[in-house]
């Protein structure tokens, strides 16, 4: 029988299986225990593994992340849940000045195998500061890896890979996709490698690079354009934001000669700029048109009455693609 899970179920299952398999793994966060997490990602895990391994912490992001750093240095593998990406800022110093640097400062003597999971992105009608997409902050910090799955299958496989990774991983979960759809997810443990993108739709006319919740928007735009105009769009899910899968980006671009990047983060200094830079470095002569970015705007993510207008939509993506195709 085919078993289908939502992304949140896939995430829970990944943690459950790692907790069962490896006694060093533990969960820390606000409301992750009795309440099962604000999105229920850790539902029931406290009952299965006890309050010593699934820990309801004080409301204290620097405290949670800082303590997890110490635990990771001393033999444990903490998985931290931060309730929303914008709530991570009090712990930012702990991430950039310590988690990311401990291996470096001690010349490999101590390292920080931890995962910081947090929902991110807009589109759920959340209050202020519940919808940010600031992956760039973390992608700029050597020592961190940044991952953002777009499907339940990848979420489980990437989370297991992140927990097993010897370095700190920022694991960004697109809030909008938590319960948006189900897909087949194997019951056994498997890994989706960090640093590897995936071509989710083959095409020959243009490459669309996206991740997280924007993947679905990109796919929708590709489908519509194919139906309406016969354009053959290739969609590449980057899956890992740092380190980027350069080979996949370049291979797709060489095939199509045109590209757009879709991300919901603000345009300026967003990862789109980095992707374009890779294309410039590696495949400039293959380009038939400038690479366009269809992104969130350079404004604070607005309140939800107009958040849909902030986010790239299939219509905006389509018009960007058409512009690039007709350059």
């Amino acid at each position: 029988m085919i078993r289908k899970l939502t992304m949140i179920q896939a995430i829970t299952e990944a943690m459950d299986q790692k907790l069962a398999e490896d006694s060093r793994v533990m969960l820390l966060g606000e409301d992750v225990g009795v309440n099962g997490g604000v999105f229920r990602a850790t539902e029931d895990l406290i009952h299965k593994y006890g309050a010593n391994r699934v820990v309801d912490t004080p409301l204290s992001e620097a405290g949670i992340i800082g303590a997890a750093i110490g635990m990771a240095m001393n033999g444990l593998i903490p998985i931290v849940e931060i309730q929303f990406l914008a709530f991570i800022y009090p712990g930012f110093e702990q991430i950039v000045s310590h988690a990311a640097r401990m291996r470096y400062r001690t010349r490999g003597q101590y390292h920080v195998p931890m995962v910081i999971r947090t929902p991110y992105g807009a589109g759920i009608r959340g209050p202020e500061l519940h919808s940010e997409s600031v992956e760039t902050f973390f992608a700029h910090v050597p020592g961190l890896k940044v991952v953002a799955p777009s499907t339940p299958y990848d979420a489980k496989g990437l989370l297991i890979a992140a927990i097993e990774d010897p370095d700190p991983v920022i694991f960004l979960e697109p809030t909008k996709l938590y319960r948006a759809f189900k897909e087949e997810v194997p019951e056994e443990m498997y890994r989706v490698p960090i640093g590897k993108a995936k071509v989710v739709r083959e095409g020959t006319d243009i490459s669309i690079f996206a991740w997280g919740a924007m993947l679905r928007v990109a796919e929708e735009a590709a489908k519509q354009l194919e139906r309406e105009q016969g354009a053959s769009c290739e969609v590449v899910d980057l899956r890992t934001i740092y380190p980027l899968d350069r080979d996949a980006i370049v291979a797709s671009l060489k095939k199509t000669g045109r590209a757009v990047v879709v991300h919901e983060a603000h345009k300026t200094a967003g990862m789109g700029a980095e992707i374009i830079s890779i294309i410039n470095d590696e495949a400039l002569i293959y380009l038939k048109a400038p690479v366009k970015r269809i992104t969130g705007f350079d404004v604070p993510v607005p309140q939800f009455s107009i958040e849909d207008d902030y986010l790239p939509t299939p219509a905006r993506v389509k018009s960007g693609i058409v512009e690039t195709l007709t350059f």
Binding site: V55, G66, L76, Q109, P243
Partner: protein, 355 residues
């Protein structure tokens, strides 16, 4: 609450009976270590002045706090120093050569002796206090009989991480010891302007953990307080906040001029003559017949030899290679680092650049 726990008065007299609580051999070890690290500190300042070392943060005056606390630890206990706590690091087993290397700007200056858990000096303020909660918590969960000791200064108590660390440690009863060296100044700002709290120890009440205010220039008080805190920690009774009142005789760092913010000469002179940690222990040891001028001469000669040997070791340490900066960023290097390392070691030659 503002009273100080003191065992050895500045006059070298015991203010209370400590019979059976402190071996004479430990007292001598304390003295030897304090003299050693003071000479090390002075040497370091000289090296900085000679251009042989980078900016340096001296600790002279604070020897009793650092030596007494670190000497109480056992191997494997976790030590989280700030950039001023190299005396503690040395006492816990860090080599003086490594400390020199750190201040000489070498990548390898932060490596701990194997198994001793001497953490790299923490530069951001108070952040390491939370790590000491995490390591201690992990020790407890893994049934290891080790404490984690976090050093910090009076200024650190204004940071949010101070609060978060004490709060966490209190909730989870982690075997953490928070050791504040209150030397009266956060660079230039006096403690009276740092906080309206009369003391730092009183903050412990807010977390329902023990808070002790001690004479930080009394090495006996420091050591005995630490031992008590360690016993509680290892009995599962949780953390302790220790406020050690002390004074840094010199500047915040070699790049700082304390005359700008305090009556440097007068204050340093007062502390040196009236409350010096080394002087009072020597008076005590001499009065007890445990120390002589001959021993003193031998100690100073031996300490200077050790320091000189450490300096030779540090200065003859292999030169840092630029490619070292690409190592240990991740367990496996990223493609970016691999490529950029190539750019570094093969810089473009002038003739390669088209006119």
């Amino acid at each position: 609450m503002t009273s100080l726990y003191q065992v050895l008065a500045p006059t070298g007299e015991l203010t209370q009976d400590i019979e059976g609580r402190l071996d004479e051999s430990v007292m001598i070890k304390m003295y030897e270590n304090m003299v050693l690290v003071r000479l090390f500190d002075r040497k370091s300042i000289n090296l900085q002045r000679q251009g042989r070392m980078g900016t340096y943060a001296p600790f002279e005056g604070q020897e009793a706090s650092q030596v007494g606390s670190a000497l109480a630890l056992t191997p494997g206990d976790w030590l989280f120093p700030t950039y001023r706590d190299h005396a503690a690091a040395i006492v816990h087993g860090q080599s003086m050569a490594r400390v020199f290397l750190y201040w000489m700007g070498h990548m390898e200056g932060s490596i701990s002796p194997q198994g001793l858990n001497v953490m790299p000096p923490c530069v951001p303020i108070a952040t390491q206090m939370i790590h000491a909660v995490g390591t201690a918590w992990a020790s407890k969960l893994q049934n290891e009989q080790h404490v984690s000791l976090a050093y910090f200064g009076d200024g650190a108590t204004s940071e949010g991480d101070f609060h978060e660390a004490l709060n966490f440690a209190g909730v989870f009863k982690t075997p953490t010891i928070f050791f504040c060296q209150n030397n009266g100044y956060a660079i230039s700002v006096p403690f009276s302007q740092q906080s309206a709290s009369k003391t730092i120890a009183q903050r412990a009440a807010a977390y329902d953990i023990p808070g002790v205010r001690i004479d930080g220039n009394d090495v006996f008080a420091v050591w005995l307080t630490m031992k008590e805190a360690m016993e509680r920690a290892l009995n599962g009774e949780g953390p302790t906040l220790i406020e050690a009142i002390t004074y840094r005789y010199g500047a915040h760092t070699t790049a700082d001029d304390p005359k700008k913010y305090r009556d440097q000469e007068k204050l340093a002179e007062e502390w040196r003559t009236e409350r010096d940690p080394i002087q009072r222990l020597r008076t005590f040891l001499v009065q007890r017949g445990l120390w002589s001028d001959a021993q003193e001469a031998q100690l100073v000669a031996r300490a200077n030899e050790q320091i000189d040997a450490a300096l030779v070791e540090a200065e003859s340490y292999p030169k840092s290679r630029p490619e070292d900066m690409f190592k240990h960023v991740y367990a496996e290097p990223t493609w970016m680092a691999e490529e950029q390392e190539g750019e570094l070691v093969k810089p473009a030659k002038k003739e390669d650049i088209p006119a």
